[in-house]
């Protein structure tokens, strides 16, 4: 859901525009330079994915980012990196073992 919502470049621009703080719809339309109906549609999808929240202010609707799903995504990315770093440590070790077996005359072959 989060990936789907962010997979669209226009929605991604909206999320980027909201990084610096909350914004009214008109403000976003200026910022990302697409038609208001488009922005509204994208905002609805972002809202359904839990990425943005909205509050009324007089006539205006003010949008802001919800950090939770982004944190989750960040946790995912971080876990994935850590997972692979550990796996590649084992890869390096396995490679050394393989090289040792191929060179039985090399020193320290005491396994």
């Amino acid at each position: 859901m989060v990936f789907h919502a962010l997979g669209d470049p226009m929605r991604f621009r909206i999320v980027e525009a909201l990084r610096t703080g909350e914004r009214a719809v008109n403000d976003l339309v200026d910022k990302v330079e697409i038609h208001q109906s488009g922005v509204s549609r994208h905002l609805r999808i972002l809202q359904e994915a839990g990425l943005v929240q909205v509050r009324p202010e007089g006539q205006k609707r003010i949008y802001s980012l919800r950090p939770e799903p982004l944190r989750e995504l960040n946790a995912w990315i971080t876990s994935y990196r850590h997972f692979w770093e550990a796996r590649l440590d084992r890869f390096a070790h396995a490679l050394k073992q393989k090289q040792k077996r191929q060179l039985p005359d090399k020193k320290e072959n005491s396994k």
Binding site: F12, S79, Y80, F83, F91, K98
Partner: protein, 163 residues
Amino acid sequence: MSGNQDRQRIKIEKTYKASINDVWHLWTTKDGIESWWGPDGFTTQVLKLNLRAGGTLRYLMTATGAAQAAFMKKAGMPLTTEGRISYTEVILHERLAYTHLADFIPGVEPYDVATTVEFFVEGEDVRMVLTFDAMHSEEWTQRAAMGHESQLGRLEKVLADVN
């Protein structure tokens, strides 16, 4: 952080003093894969390996480390689980691509991840570049293909701000 983070998806790069034969062997043979695939505290047993685009690798992961086995028991999970990856590209000594359901990260919903491994022979070294793309929808895949792959890199920036 250096500027090249801008254009990355999730990317990991390693250089090994090794022959391309050895490196390729570890990625593409039963005993090679079993020697490092892991994760830590788990042994891998390759059940079936069909190394070609469209082929699959099926394997069993068994918790053998004391801590890992205890954790799995406590979490009510079986000690052995099956894993599967589907190869999408196999180019001898150059490139390996596959998709895999990443369902092993605690607390995170499973995702299809497309992994590409590129091998570059540089003198006596082999440089290995791994790229990961979490693709959940057709749309994401298409956008990525259309040259929007820098989005994940930009995403990491957004995340850095939010956190």
